[in-house]
Structures are given as structure tokens and as C-alpha cells.
Amino acid sequence: MSTVQPAQEEAPQKTSSWLQRIWRNYMLRRVAAALFKIWIVITLTFFIVRLMPTNPIDAYVNELMDQYGFSYEEAKDQAAALFNIDLDSSLWDQYVQYMANLLHGDLGTSYRSKGTPVIKMIAKFLPWTLFSVGVSLLISFTLGILLGMIMAYRRESLLDHTLSALASIFSAIPNYLVGMMILVFLGVQWKIFPITKMRGSMSPGMKPAFTWAFIKDIFYHALLPILTYVLTTIGTWMLAMKSSTISTLGEDYITVAKARGLPERRIVTAYVGRNASLPLFTQLAISIGFIVGGSALIEFIFVYQGVGQLLLSSINTRDYPVMQGVFLVITIAVILANFLADFVYGWLDPRIRI
């Protein structure tokens, strides 16, 4: 009897499905949830993209007629030669096919740049967006936190009022307007920046290498997009950090830290700064997604070859596989950023450590 009983107890554990096991493991649960979210977004974009008025062929035909003066018949023949896609298969079949390819890591090929795999196009454009957006986020976040703390320490001073006003104004203006203003005033009217030379993501003939010349060059070309992103996002960080710092300064542990005779520098960094910036890290993750999505217009304005520009041109030509690919990348970026934020947050704040 005694040898049988443990076996009986083990039995329900063995029969417990793999789904339950995933549910019990926090990490696996997170990964499963992330995959589920990605699938939802892929499905939605697949259908929404196809719900847009005009299809890739019509878009191409119209373009040929408008730009090159083709007659409708000529344009149609030209288009037929370019696109040999089977638009007869049902939407459902296309969806199943697309998902099946995706599972093999195949994002399809571009309709317009004939035969170019979408993954290759994204690999070419994405690094520039990640670079420009990442650098701006880093600058804007750290600078915003510093300025926000200064504002909180000097609250009600002239400096605080000026910075608050500027922060509100810049966070209220859409980034493409700021981009256009930079282009028009700093570039064209006052000629501070040679915008034609700054176009693109690097100078022609520049070879990617880990050299000072290359690093200087890519920063030079990314300067205006970075300036725009920083100007339009720093205000939110400043204001959030200011209010967070003010409430942290009222905490008992700050008074106690002073009573303990800790050096002011230590209180500002380890006590006020660290605790006040905690809630901002959650916002940071969310903003990563937004900024990648919002890069389209900025990259268009400054002719910067990032994934945003790729998205914009693929929308114009109704290049479905490219659009889907870019959306997929943005989705993954947001989900990864959230993932990362949870870990960073847990590392920074022991109270929510799992």
C-alpha cells in the first residue's frame, strides 16, 4: 500500500497539461502572453492593411500615370508584368499562408522592390531608427530627470517657471511640426544647418566601421532627428520628474536622512533621485514604442533612412508585406521594451521584486 500511494499522488501532476506548467512559471507566462499579443497584432494589421482604400496594383498604376504620363492601358500592362501575385486566392488563404511563412521566419518579399525579402529591407533601415531614437531617448530621459529635479529643488523660482513653461509648450507641439520648424528656420531661413548635406543616415561613400570618422558622421546625420525627438519628449520627463521629486521630498525618509547627518549629495542621489525616478521607468518603456512608431514623419522630413521612412513609402505604394513587417517590428519593440522595463523596475525597486 505504502508504495502505491505516492504514485497515486504523482499521477495528477503528470497529467497536468503543459499549459498549466507554463502558467505556473512566471517567465514562461510572460513569454506566452507576449507571443499571444504579437499574434493579435499581426492578425489585426494583416486585415486592416488590406482594408485600406486602393490596392498595390492600383497604387502603382496611378503612380505611373501621374508621374510618367503613361496611359491607363500602358500602366496596367506594366503593372501586370511587375506584380505576378495571386490576388484571386481568398483573404483567409492569404492569411493562413502568411502566418505559415511567418512561423518559418519568412516575412515575405516586397511587392514593389521586386523580390527583395522584407527582412532584408528592415535589417537595412531599422538600425538607423534604433540608433537615432535610442540616443534621443537616452538624452531626453537623463536630461529630463536632471532638469526635473532642479525644478523641484528650486520650485517657484524664475528658473522653475521658465522651464515649466518651455516643457509644457514643447511637449504640446507635435513632433513633425517641431521638425518642420527646425527645417524651415534653422535650415532654410537662417542657414544654421546645411540640411542638404545632413540628409540620409550617413555621407555617401562612408563605410560602416568602428572609427571616429564614422561615428562622427552618423551623429552628424542623425543630429536633426535627434534634436526633434529630444525637444518634443523632454518636457514630459521634466514635468513628471518634477512632480515625482516634490512628492518624494515630502517623504519621512528624506527628513530622517537629514537627521542622520547624511551628506547632501548622498540624499539627492540615493534618496531623492532614485526614489523619484522609479515611476518614470515604466513610462520609459511605453515611450520607446511610441517613438519608434512616431519616427515616420520625422524621418520623412529630414530624409533619414530609418524604418519610419520605409513604413511611409510602403504605405504610399500599398506594399503589404513591408507594412506588415514594419508593424511587426514595432510590436516586438514595444513588447520587448515592456519586458525590459519590468526587469529594470524590479531591479531598481525591491518592493516589487518577484
Binding site: R260, L262, P350
Partner: protein
Amino acid sequence: MAEATQTPYTLKVENLRVSYQAERGKVKAVRDVSFTLQKGETLAFIGESGCGKTTLGLSLIRLLPTTAAIEQGKIIYHHNGEEFDIVNLSEKQLRRFRWREFAMIFQGAQNAFNPVLRIWDQFWETARAHGETNKRHLRERVEETFRLVQLDPDRVLRAYPHQLSGGMRQRVLIALGLLLKPPLVLLDEPTTALDILTQRSVIDVLRDLKSQMSFSLILISHDLSLAAELADRVATMYAGTLVEIATVWDAYYRPLHPYTAGLIRAVPTLSGERQDLVSIPGSPPDLISPPTGCAFHPRCPYATDQCRQNTPTLIEAEPNHMVACWHWDEVAADGGARMKEQVEA
């Protein structure tokens, strides 16, 4: 009195006046408070909420919020033959003075620790700020203080503040306060926000510590039983002024100020005959424009025209028993019985 001046003192406060700047005007939170804390003595400040106890405590260690200021007065600190006025210390001198010489253990220890640092790190940074460089040496001292407050150093030092219970946090804060063996300690409502059993253990710890270590203690509390257990003398505060300073025995059994008498009647006793609990009628006065004369006169059954017009000063009515009341002799004669009659009438 002559005897009192001869014994060495730790803290001598003279005519201290502290005000907050509010929208409606100046809030006179501490008004001309003078007292002397003898070496090794425990002095308890009691009074209702809002009577200026905590403001007094914060001003002693110069931690008042920016809206408040010390308008006048001296806070003379004396230790090992050296004496200086805390009011005149620079920020740099203050930083070194705080905790090493004068540790303030706050009310609401629940939130007294930085939530993102381990307890050990907070002990270490405190010691380092006051010149400690040897971690092992500090560890030994921390373990010694932890034994005094009955905490397990291995477990607690590794923990983050949120992993400790309220009572443990209070004891950790007490241990941190005594870490540098300061000659002067201020305890502000050390048992508030703790349940009754935890309060008991904290009080026991405090009493043990007092008998084992020789520090002077200022205790701020509205808990009269806590004051009775720990204090040598009791100072009663009302509307920002000191109205009575007496030994614990005198304060409880022979109060000379009607307000002290009222406070004691508002507390139930476990032993002795059953008495009706009496609360003091009325509410504490507005500190922006306090009543003329004695601030307590609107609530006082002994009040006369003299009380309404002239402010009584703190006088030594009986040996080692100071009171600020025109009619202390009447209170002494009837034991403050009129405080009770007033309610019944």
C-alpha cells in the same frame, strides 16, 4: 533651583520662538519655551496634537520645514565641557552634529527608511557619514545594538525595509539612533501607529536601553502612560507654550496647572477606583491669533479677569515644580477637581 544649576546639563533652551508662515498669517507654533535637560535625564513633553511638541522637537535639531523659522531664542548644547548654540550652527556643522551628538527618532518609523536600500546599507552610510571606515568594526557595533533592541542582525540587516514588520522597523530605527552612542536622543511618538503588544515591547526595549546606556532623552508623546513609564520629568505644552514642568510623580498626583490636571483625568486607569473619564471641553486655540492672557483661559474653570488680560510666566511654585498659572494654588488645593465639575455643570 540652585541645586539644578550645579548639575551638568545636556540641553538648555531659552525663550525659543518658532513660527510657520501660512496664508492667513504667522502660526506661532512654539512661543517662548525655556527648559533645561539635565545630563542623563528623560524629559517628556506631553500635550494635545497641534500644541507644538513636534515643532519644538524639529527646531531643536534644526530640521524645520522651509516655511518655518526660529525667530528667537537659544538652544545651548553641552557635552564634555564643550557648549554651543545649535541655532548658530552652519549647515556643515549641523550635518556632523546630527545623529552623532543628537539623534532624533521620528514618529512614523514605518516610512523612516529608504525603501530601495537594504537595512545594512543604511546603517553603513550613516556610520560612514560620521567618519566610520571599517565595515567589520561597524558590523560588531551593529550586532551589539541589535541585541539591545532584540533583533536578529543576520536576518534584519539583509532585509529591505518593506520586509520588516512595523514593530521591527521601529526597533531598527531605535538601534540606528543609538548606533553612534549619541549623548542626546529625541524620541517623537515612538509607539504611535503600533499595536498594543508591539508598543509594550518597544517600551520595554526603551526602558532597558535607558538603564544600560547613559544618554539624555527627550520624549515627545501624547501617550501619558508612556511618559509615566520612561520619564523623570514631564513638561506639559499648551498652544505652543510650556505650562508646567514637574517630576513624573508631581505631574500625575499633584498637577498645578488645570490643563495638566485635565489631561490626566482624560486617561483611564487600570487599578484603583473607577473614575469617570473627563475630556477637556473646547478645542485647542488658533495659533495664528492665540487668546490674550493665558492661552488656556477659554477652556479653564479657574479663569478670572486676570487670566484673560495677563499672561502668566513659568514660576517655580513648589521645589522643582514649575507652573505658568495665576491660580496654581487653587488647583493644588482641590487637585484640579473643577476640571471635572465643569463638564458636569
